[in-house]
C-alpha cells in the first residue's frame, strides 16, 4: 500500500475506476438529468486529478492552477447549461 502514497499512482487508480463507472452508465443506458449530472461530475473530478496530480499543478503558482481549474469549471458549466436547455 506504500505505492498509494504517490499521488500519481492514486490518481491513476481513481481515474481507471471513474472511467469504468462512466462506461457502465453507458452500458445500462443511463439517460436524463441524474445521469448527465453524474457523468459530468465524474469528468470534472477526473479532469481535476489530471490537472493537480499529473500536470503537478497542486503546488504551482496560484494563477496557473486557477487558469486550468477555471477552464474545467467553464467547460463543465457550458455543457451543463446546454444539456439543461435540452431537457426543457
Amino acid at each position: 500500500m506504500n505505492a498509494l502514497k504517490n499521488p500519481a499512482h492514486r490518481a491513476w487508480l481513481i481515474l481507471l475506476v471513474a472511467t469504468s463507472i462512466t462506461w457502465y452508465l453507458g452500458e445500462v443506458g443511463a439517460a436524463g438529468t441524474l445521469a448527465i449530472v453524474t457523468m459530468l461530475f465524474i469528468a470534472f473530478v477526473k479532469g481535476r486529478l489530471v490537472i493537480l496530480d499529473f500536470m503537478e499543478l497542486r503546488e504551482a503558482p496560484r494563477l496557473w492552477r486557477a487558469l486550468l481549474e477555471g477552464w474545467l469549471i467553464l467547460v463543465s458549466s457550458l455543457i451543463l447549461l446546454a444539456y439543461w436547455i435540452s431537457l426543457k
Binding site: 439517460a31 469528468a43 489530471v50 490537472i51 503537478e56 504551482a60 487558469l67
Partner: protein, 196 residues
C-alpha cells in the same frame, strides 16, 4: 538517529513545472477545445433526438478503452518525470516509451473505429452529429500524434541523459502537453459517447 531530525524539512516552494511558454500554448489549445465542446453541446440542444439516436451507433467500448490508454499513458509519463527528479536515469526513457506505446494503442483503436464508421458509409456530411463526432475526435487524434512526436523527442533526449534532478524542464514541458491530450479526452469521451 538524530541525523534525520537535523535535516530541515523541505519547504515546498510554489513552482510551475516546465517552461512558461508551453503553458500558454496548452491554454490556447484548451480554449480551442472549449469552443468545440460548447458548440457540440449547444448544437445538440437544438437536435436532441438526432444526437441521441446517432450517439447510440458509436463504439463506447472503444471510447472507454481509449480513455484507459490515455490515462495510463499519462501515468507513465508522470513516472518518467518523477524518475528524473530522483535521478533514476534508466527509468526515464523506459517510462516515456511506455507512454508512447499507450498513445500508439489509442491511435490503433481509433483507426479501427474510423474504419468501421467510414466503411458504413458515414462521413462528415452524413449529419450534424457525425460532423461533430468526426471533426472533434479527428482534431483530438492530431493532438495525440503531436504528443507522440514530443514524446519521441523526450525519449531521445532522456537516453542521452539530458534530464535529471538538476534539470527536468524540457521533460516537464512535454509531459504537460501529453497530460493535456489526456485531459481533453476525459471531457470528450463522456460528452460525445455517453451523455444523453
Amino acid at each position: 538517529m538524530t541525523t534525520a531530525a537535523l535535516i530541515p524539512p523541505e519547504t515546498p516552494q510554489k513552482r510551475l513545472p516546465g517552461d512558461l511558454a508551453i503553458w500558454f500554448f496548452i491554454l490556447a489549445e484548451m480554449l480551442a477545445f472549449a469552443v468545440f465542446f460548447a458548440s457540440y453541446a449547444f448544437a445538440r440542444a437544438r437536435n436532441v433526438e438526432m444526437f441521441n439516436l446517432y450517439q447510440q451507433t458509436l463504439d463506447r467500448n472503444a471510447g472507454a478503452l481509449n480513455t484507459f490508454l490515455l490515462i495510463t499513458g499519462s501515468w507513465f509519463v508522470v513516472r518518467a518525470v518523477q524518475a528524473a527528479h530522483r535521478n533514476d536515469q534508466k527509468a526515464i526513457p523506459r517510462n516515456i516509451l511506455l507512454g508512447f506505446l499507450c498513445g500508439g494503442g489509442f491511435l490503433a483503436v481509433k483507426v479501427f473505429e474510423y474504419a468501421a464508421k467510414f466503411g458504413a458509409g458515414i462521413s462528415m456530411s452524413t449529419n450534424t452529429f457525425y460532423m461533430f463526432y468526426i471533426s472533434l475526435t479527428f482534431f483530438h487524434f492530431m493532438h495525440v500524434i503531436l504528443g507522440m512526436v514530443i514524446l519521441t523527442i523526450l525519449w531521445v533526449q532522456a537516453r542521452k541523459g539530458v534530464y535529471g534532478s538538476h534539470d527536468a524542464h524540457g521533460l516537464e514541458s512535454g509531459a504537460a502537453y501529453w497530460h493535456m491530450v489526456d485531459l481533453l479526452w476525459i471531457i470528450l469521451f463522456p460528452l460525445v459517447y455517453v451523455m444523453r
